[in-house]
Symmetry: C2
Subunit: 275 residues, 2 copies
């Protein structure tokens, strides 16, 4: 049993409801990481999607910060159950207050690989995809600090994150981009659920342009899982595309150790300047 599996597993406590602890081991400062909460809620919701284990499109709106080492309840509802896709929604509640609202579609990415000719994707042209960027290997990258802007990253006891040496110094990249490697510290291989966490575990890409600017709370995060990842390191690249009126769009992509695109992400976040 891995730490991630152990700490994202809730118990079924009623019709469509799961309950259990939110672990503080994935905290950024005093609150659980948003990607961890997303994985926790999706893990609970997919207990209702027995044929479709892979989240292929997940949107979360963060209504309130989560609370580590407190119980949560995830209430899920199946909206549609089809042959190739199941869709559902869920809300994660702590202390009677909704923290996350989730809307997600699930599929079986392994099954769909075999059914590709039936689903009409066997075109003669090379299919479009997003190529992985060039980056030094993990042992030439810089371990993400467990302390950023005086904020303790407890999550760095769970994750091994190595950042591009040209981008790691705050504000030094001259562009709003962060590139690096990520894996679980306990050796658990990546899967579609882990990609939800990995899509929200790098430093905010705006740091590369502006330096340490303060808190960047996520309003909404959407992750598309494109393929099941191969074992090994996951490569991630994140860019701030647009910043206006204190709200920014950050785009991300994740590739597995074979160089295949495995997930894309986009989030709307607020930029709150450090006092």
């Amino acid at each position: 049993m891995s730490q991630f599996d152990d700490e994202t597993r809730l118990q079924i406590s009623g019709e469509g409801v799961c309950a259990g602890p939110v672990h503080s081991s994935w905290n950024i400062g005093t609150n659980p990481n948003g990607g961890y909460l997303m994985a926790l809620a999706v893990s609970a919701l997919r207990t209702q999607m027995p044929r479709h284990p892979d989240p292929v499109s997940v949107t979360v709106h963060y209504l309130r910060p989560g609370l580590g080492d407190q119980t949560c309840q995830v209430s899920g509802q199946v909206l549609r159950s089809g042959a190739t896709l199941s869709t559902g929604r869920a809300s994660l509640v702590q202390q009677d207050k909704a923290c996350l609202e989730v809307l997600a579609a699930f599929a079986d990415l392994a099954a769909n690989s075999n059914a590709s000719s039936a689903s009409g994707s066997n075109f003669s042209l090379p299919a479009p995809t997003v190529a992985a960027p060039a980056i030094p290997p993990p042992d030439q990258c810089i371990l993400r600090s467990g302390d950023e802007q005086g904020v303790e990253l407890t999550i760095m006891n769970r994750l091994d994150i190595r950042l591009h040496p040209g981008e790691v110094k705050s504000g030094a990249a001259g562009k709003a981009q962060v590139t690096g490697w990520i894996r679980f510290l306990d050796g658990r291989p990546p899967d579609s659920l882990a990609l939800l966490l990995f899509a929200d575990a790098f430093p905010p890409s705006i740091f590369g342009l502006l330096g340490l600017v303060g808190w960047v709370p996520t309003i909404e995060l959407t992750v598309h899982v494109r393929r099941r990842p191969a074992p090994g390191w996951i490569l991630g690249q994140f860019r701030t595309l647009d910043l206006a009126d204190g709200r920014m769009i950050e785009d991300g992509a994740l590739w597995d150790s074979t160089g295949q695109l495995v997930a894309q992400s986009r989030q709307l976040a607020m930029l709150r300047r450090q006092k």
Copy 2:
């Protein structure tokens, strides 16, 4: 009163519930366009967000095709109401079946422009944004056909869409990209609600690479409205980023007549080959 306003306005029929007709005038073939249905549902939901008229992050999952010239009910629920942001969900139902599930955050984009210094975005560096692509003016672009692959585009009686001459011929662009201009035929100026429609009104970008490949039903569409648009034409560019196992990711961006980025979109769609 514009056609778009007239045909996206439902009547309040109960606590959090609006009802009224889905108009077939926005049809693609026999079903209403997905962007129109998104605008219809969001228009109903925002009646519950009096302080925040602009949808800034909208995700829709399309559960079943909509039905033109049939009644619909939109049931909305406020999930959080804050000072700068309100969040809600809604479902659009026709003939007792859920067609759309919506999760959305709303703000006041005009108010936030004035509050930019307070919200911490007044950095000295130019803020990142996405520049508009170069494209010939509308009168040198090609009117989108009202008949594509034998499918009647009734919506072309409502919208004026002009496509880049180098991309309009099916499969000719050699890349999965569509660029063009869009506006309402009746002269209604664009606003944040209209951008939801405009983000889903161009031909599927995969046509530029593969030719007319059949039906491309949207599973999920997320639109971020970044700024209120100036009057005039809206420029749109859409690209298929990744195609795997019959499912594709299409990214889009919209710019207003002053060249400002006004919306970004991403959708997960299925590619069903024409028989």
